[in-house]
Amino acid sequence: MFESFQHLATGFGIATTIQNLLYCLIGAIVGTLVGVLPGLGPIAGIALLIPATFGLNPTSAIIMLAGIYYGAMYGGSTTSILLNVPGETASVITCIDGYQMAQKGRAGPALAMCAIGSFIAGSIGIFGLVFLAPPLAEAALAFGPPEYFSLMVFAFIVLSNVTGTSLVKSLMMAVIGLIIGTIGLDPVTGDARFTFGSIPLLSGIEFVAVAIGLFGIGEVLTNVNQPLEMLEQKVLIPRLRELYPSFQDLKRSIGAILRGAGIGFGVGLVPGPAPVIATYASYMTERKISKHPEEFGKGAIEGVAGPESANNSACQSAFIPLFVLGIPFAPPTAILLGALLIHGVSPGPLMISNHPQLFWGVIASMYIGNFILLILNLPFVPLFANILRIPKKILLPLVILFCITGMFTVNNSVFDIWIMLLFGGLGFLMRKWAFEGAPLLLALVLGPKLEVAFRQSLMISHGNFGVFINRPISMAFLIGMLLFLILPIFWKLFKKTEKGGGGSSKQ
């Protein structure tokens, strides 16, 4: 424990250099803007900013990109409260009570409580990250290719199960992502696959192009298709003196904030869209234990403080599987994995020992980033909310221009823009047919790792598939995966029989 404090102190030394503080501030501001703007989520935000980090050292780059991630989580609540339009998916639940509070003239306390709750929960999340990551990294050293394979399959199944409306549809997206990931050179033999003689395809499909295409261009194409007046509503911007919550508000919220932080931290360690699940879980918990459940949905401050805290805590703990196992459990951390790889850092159990400056520097910067966000989000909320006044018909072409510019700068290649446009069109069709993009992106990033783990496992076992169930850790992941698949079916059957039983007894 003492060792972790020592390392953290070193991390603060790295994070508080003028350069890193500046990048942390830029990340936090850009993240808040990304969160505030409906339609631009943290995935598109991080993907767009990756090219801007090429000239930086890996530590500064990841400090900035991580800042965008948790900054977007802070900013996402602003539109939920002021407009009833979630800035990103994790803020959907904040609309319920946040918008009701705004309608009653209490937008200020709602926004302030979001910022305070996010700060407290984010700090608790980072605290957990500091003390859990090193022992988990040591435990992960026992992982071989079969364990990694089973863990990645487990992650796909869980993510597919909790995103979208249908498990089969999400699994299809994951398999498509894996197939796209096989384009380029075979990671074991070095032979070309699905390149059709194209030289740019030899290095595979650029994941940034897929991310910006699916989540940036796809979102814009969906938005332009909707009536313009849908997002051009009047924005009620609170004044600075209206922002501060009363003592009663703080008293009512503190329990919700702490519970939200705990729920968020636990959920962040599990594969899936952690912030989204964490906000739902926190909201349900608060409503269940509240002495005034009837106030929920009509402007209960706990319904804003709890989910927003859970959201930010989940963001911080989502860094644990990324840093410790090298396996992102959610799309934004998948993008961060891609960014780490671009900067020559391969996350995994050895990351803490091989890149201590980066690991502890990034963690320390998260504390600083949370503090910056608290400062930004309390007095400057009216300023950020003013961005919502930019007409959509100016904003959408601007996003397209940034997407094209950002995409070109990754490899100075027009080919990447074509790939981005292809996936932009695909993203639009996927939204039309209600297919989820998240499993595809995660699978694309993890695909090569999964293939190598699969082939190495079979090489070790001389082609025997028993290797995946003979090793206890691997078997545990596979059992977990089966439970995740089977339990919902049993639950449905149980509910059906219960309904049937209830019905017959009535007759």
Partner: protein
């Protein structure tokens, strides 16, 4: 599920089939020593199975699906999305010959018009200012080597 989702299912099934067919042209090897085509072949077959289940599921629940209404995307015309995409394709084609500043200006001007900006007196200055800001931000300040085109900027 929406009524035309099955089209997506069929497209995905075909994608899986093509992947499997192309993989068969590569060395497959054995499970002990998997060849280049083994992994994509398994994925292609898996995708065909999943999309097959998906399409069958839609048809088996056909009656229910027809009752449900489509989303707002379905109900409105996708003409603006198509115009946006066509504009982006054209600008990408002209990206190198025109250069970045001119491409950015044209992209903004056309997209603003597509989204309903009626007066050229607002569209042109707005596009010019945006292109100029982007040029100074990316080319002059961040020193990103973007195409100069025939105007040489």
């Amino acid at each position: 599920m929406k009524k035309d989702e099955w089209i997506g299912g069929i497209v995905i099934f075909l994608f899986g089939a093509i992947t499997a067919l192309l993989s068969l042209k590569m060395p497959i090897g054995t499970f002990r020593m998997a060849g280049t085509g083994m992994f994509p072949l398994c994925l292609g077959i898996l995708l065909m199975i999943l999309s097959g289940i998906f399409v069958l599921n839609i048809f088996s629940k056909g009656k229910k699906n027809r009752v449900k209404k489509g989303s707002s995307i379905e109900s409105s015309s996708p003409i603006q999305s198509v115009l946006f995409l066509v504009t982006m394709v054209l600008i990408t084609l002209l990206f190198n010959p025109l250069g970045y500043p001119l491409s950015a200006f044209l992209l903004m001007a056309v997209l603003l018009r597509v989204l309903g900006a009626k007066k050229w007196t607002t569209t042109l200055p707005l596009s010019f200012v945006t292109a100029a800001i982007c040029y100074f931000l990316f080319v002059q300040w961040l020193k990103i080597p973007l195409p100069k085109g025939w105007i040489g900027l």
